[in-house]
């Protein structure tokens, strides 16, 4: 039995972030207190999640537990559920969120009007709370409610930077995201009508009965397709990813890092939960959803990189690269095995650590080049802001899958996972092609920033990177190498987490 302190952590994490969000509007305006409050709250939740992870993996502990929200047990009341996977993910989400905020502290101050900064902090707190709730929830309707919070807050942190470009991007994101929410809502209604439950394991039991008796097969298939399509739109799976480069490429650096690294992952983890806990892998295979996801993942891996190759703006290039990386995750989910899903979860973690680092680095470099985002304008900026340059190089190596960097670990585990399935040739071919394509656009970027340019130092009048920026980048780099070199215990932990999911 788990100790009482750890038992209350899932509830406490969500609660702390919600209370921080609610208190923030009451704090004095035009001060930096709201930002500090956000950072401290997120750091506290990160520490709590780390303790929960320690308590759950301590030898002799039960690996997962349920937490009823209120005096009524699960099918009647709401319920949270925590296992090693949920604990790892919430730890990674909090750390990446914290580093995205601290690393971009100065660029946030430049981009966002002082009157709006307080509300930006409210939205960041709400986003963190919704990500934690999506990670821990055991109830499909609760998941939907927090998807809504996530949607509104995510669109608002794009629009928080003033300008026609961001307003257009935010509007586009809002429309696509709401289409996704609508599909998810319809699917949840259909599933409730068919199963009579909203709690995940009870739904699973009812769906197994439906499948064995072959009743209501059309509504079941349609609801699975709708919920997958809805969440795929929100997590930018390729044909539905047209909103992503605008939203992630034009917003302020902190927003880009948070959106690319974390917001997409919350929705993907919800899909994994729905596949694994609500439907079950056998039913998913029977309804052929794994094949659909696998093919879309393959297409996304290639097309995301092809689009990234055509970009001139460094932030848009990194944004399109996110589309390709989401393709990797869906490839793992589409393998429809425990190993595949574990590899997908590892890639979620890797991408959540690497993509914010890339956006923070790109922000630092374009700041060093006088706020120019064109790739050719960044020539020689490595020598102005070395920390940002190191971040971009490490991120690029990670995305290409160079051994020793984080991306290598997840690509390796995806490759190993694909050997168990019948589609191994396709998976390997796509992994190889996509890695080469990644190199084709990341290597030129690295060459550009490291090329000496005779006028460079004259033009670059940007202030030196702050201590906080250097510190955040150092942690990002450390995480990157840690994930790349010591991924085996983490992968074992994730596999245990997936097994008890």
């Amino acid at each position: 039995m788990i100790n009482m302190f750890a038992y209350n952590i899932p509830f406490a994490s969500i609660f702390i972030m919600m209370v921080a969000a609610i208190v923030t509007p009451l704090l004095p305006k035009r001060s930096r207190i709201p930002e500090k409050l956000s950072c401290y709250a997120i750091a506290l939740v990160a520490v709590l999640s780390a303790y929960l992870l320690y308590a759950l993996t301590y030898p002799g502990q039960s690996l997962s537990f349920n937490f009823p929200m209120g005096h009524f047990p699960a099918p009647w009341g709401n319920e949270l559920r925590a296992g090693p996977l949920e604990a790892v993910l919430s730890l990674v989400f909090c750390v990446a969120m914290l580093l995205s905020l601290t690393g971009n502290f100065s660029s946030t101050a430049e981009d966002i009007a002082p009157g709006r900064r307080q509300i930006f902090c409210v939205l960041v707190n709400l986003l963190t709370a919704s990500l934690l709730a999506l990670t821990y929830t055991n109830d499909l309707f609760t998941a939907y409610v927090f998807i809504e919070i996530n949607t509104i807050a995510a669109c608002a942190i794009v629009a928080v930077k003033e300008g026609a470009e961001t307003a257009r991007a935010a509007l586009r994101y809002l429309v696509m995201s709401l289409v996704g929410s609508g599909l998810v809502m319809i699917a949840i209604c259909l599933l409730y009508d068919l199963t009579g439950h909203l709690l995940m394991q009870n739904m699973h039991g009812a769906i197994l009965v439906l499948v064995t008796t072959k009743s209501y097969m059309i509504p079941l298939t349609v609801s699975l397709a709708l919920i997958t399509a809805g969440l795929a739109i929100k997590s930018a799976l390729y044909p539905f990813a047209s909103w992503l480069p605008d939203a992630h490429g034009t917003s302020t650096n902190a927003s880009s890092a948070i959106l690319s690294g974390l917001v997409l992952k919350g929705h993907i983890f919800t899909i994994i939960k729905i596949f694994y806990r609500v439907f079950g892998l056998d039913v998913i295979h029977m309804l052929r959803m794994d094949t659909a996801i696998f093919i879309l993942g393959l297409v996304a891996m290639i097309m995301g990189s092809v689009h990234a190759l055509r970009q001139n703006n460094v932030k848009r290039m990194i944004a399109w690269s996110s589309v390709a990386q989401v393709g990797y995750i869906f490839l793992g989910v589409g393998l429809n095995t425990t190993a595949g899903i574990a590899a997908a979860c590892l890639h979620i973690i890797v991408h959540a650590c690497v993509k914010p680092m890339l956006f923070t680095a790109a922000g630092g470099l374009s700041n060093a080049a006088g706020h120019k985002k064109g790739l050719h304008a960044l020539m020689g900026t490595f020598y102005v802001n070395t920390w940002a340059g190191l971040g971009l190089i490490a991120g690029a190596c990670s995305m290409m899958g160079i051994p020793g960097f984080a991306g290598f670990a997840s690509k390796l585990s995806l490759t190993l996972a694909s050997f168990d399935s019948s589609v191994v040739v396709w998976a390997l071919a796509a992994l190889a092609t996509s890695s080469v394509l990644n190199a084709l656009y990341y290597v030129p970027a690295v060459i550009v920033i490291m090329t000496h340019h005779k006028d460079a130092h004259k033009n670059f009048t940007a202030p030196k990177p702050t201590k906080l920026y250097k510190f955040s980048m150092f942690i990002f780099l450390t995480l990157n190498f840690y994930l790349g070199l010591f991924c085996v215990p983490l992968l074992r932990l994730i596999t245990r987490g997936v097994n008890v999911l």
């Binding site: 009482m4 038992y7 209350n8 509830f11 609660f15 919600m18 209370v19 969000a21 609610i22 208190v23 509007p25 009451l26 937490f67 009823p68 929200m69 209120g70 005096h71 009524f72 099918p75 009647w76 009341g77 709401n78 009007a113 009157g115 509300i119 930006f120 939205l123 709400l126 709370a129 109830d139 309707f141 609760t142 409610v145 927090f146 809504e148 919070i149 509104i152 669109c155 608002a156 629009a159 928080v160 003033e162 259909l190 009508d193 068919l194 009579g196 439950h197 009812a206 209501y216 059309i218 509504p219 349609v222 609801s223 001139n312 790739l375 050719h376 020539m379 030129p444 060459i447 550009v448």
Partner: protein
Amino acid sequence: MNEELKNIWRAFFNWVMGNGPRPENEVIPPEPPPDLPFTQKPHDKYTRFHEATLKERYNQWLEIHGLHIFAILYTGLSVLTCIVIVSLLLATVAELPPFGHERNPANNEVIRRYVEHGGHETGAQNIVAGLILDYRAFDTFGESAVLFTAAVSVLMLLGASRRNKTDTHSLPSSNAMDAYSIHAPPMRHHTFRKDDVILRAVASLSIPVILMMGCVVVINGHLSPGGGFSGGAILSTALILCANAYGFERVHEFFNERTFIVSSSTALMIYALSKGYSFFTGANHIHSVIPKGTIGNILSGGLILPLNICVGLIVAGTLYGFYALFSEGDM
């Protein structure tokens, strides 16, 4: 060989820079000779259609018809997609369990407990109120937070940006502005008449009634149909009517941006803290000190009455806030 390699490297380098051949290497097309022979007139884009090459003809055609064809294709594909989705959903609905049948999957032990023991377990006569504010209070907390998020986002996008424009640009001075007080903010989207006697007379009669009705619906939420969401919507209509009859300044005197932020945040905070206590005691099997009361009394249902009031405040503020921000750009 070496020269070739250098050329390839230069081409790669240029491609890396992202802008093709660099400007100094770019081949500038020679100017056309000033005097053309009589027979070779410079061809006109639209009159000499038959002289243009196939590609030029295609480009001209695209310029004239492209948008039109795109519009047709776009509409056609949209209609087709809608038809496919609609027929798919209709086919699904036709297959669903019949509405209200007693053997439906949704009629299970979950619903049975809500209906049979709802009143006794939550202390609320209105089972729906007991369901959303006690059994599944976490979802309702999330829903209130959705409203809060939306209101805060709209306030940030419309409120703050318009106010910045007031600081930087001069105030527009049209006749419509004269109807307002001296502190007239800009960006009015509709004019309002000061002398609308009928509207004011009706409003002065109906606003107290509407407010009373809203309070009754909120406060009796646990006894009769209604509750925070519906009562809050009624309360907001009173504010909107007041704003239309007497002007936004009148509402501004007692309900402005600061009041809205403070009331919404405080209400949500009371919800979070009281329900947080309830979640904590419930999950850890600690006895909760909140009394249930006698079913049917106004002071019954445990936390449901205060929670309804909180939700009512949030909903009323948010709906009025949306109206004020979208029509006025200020609150």
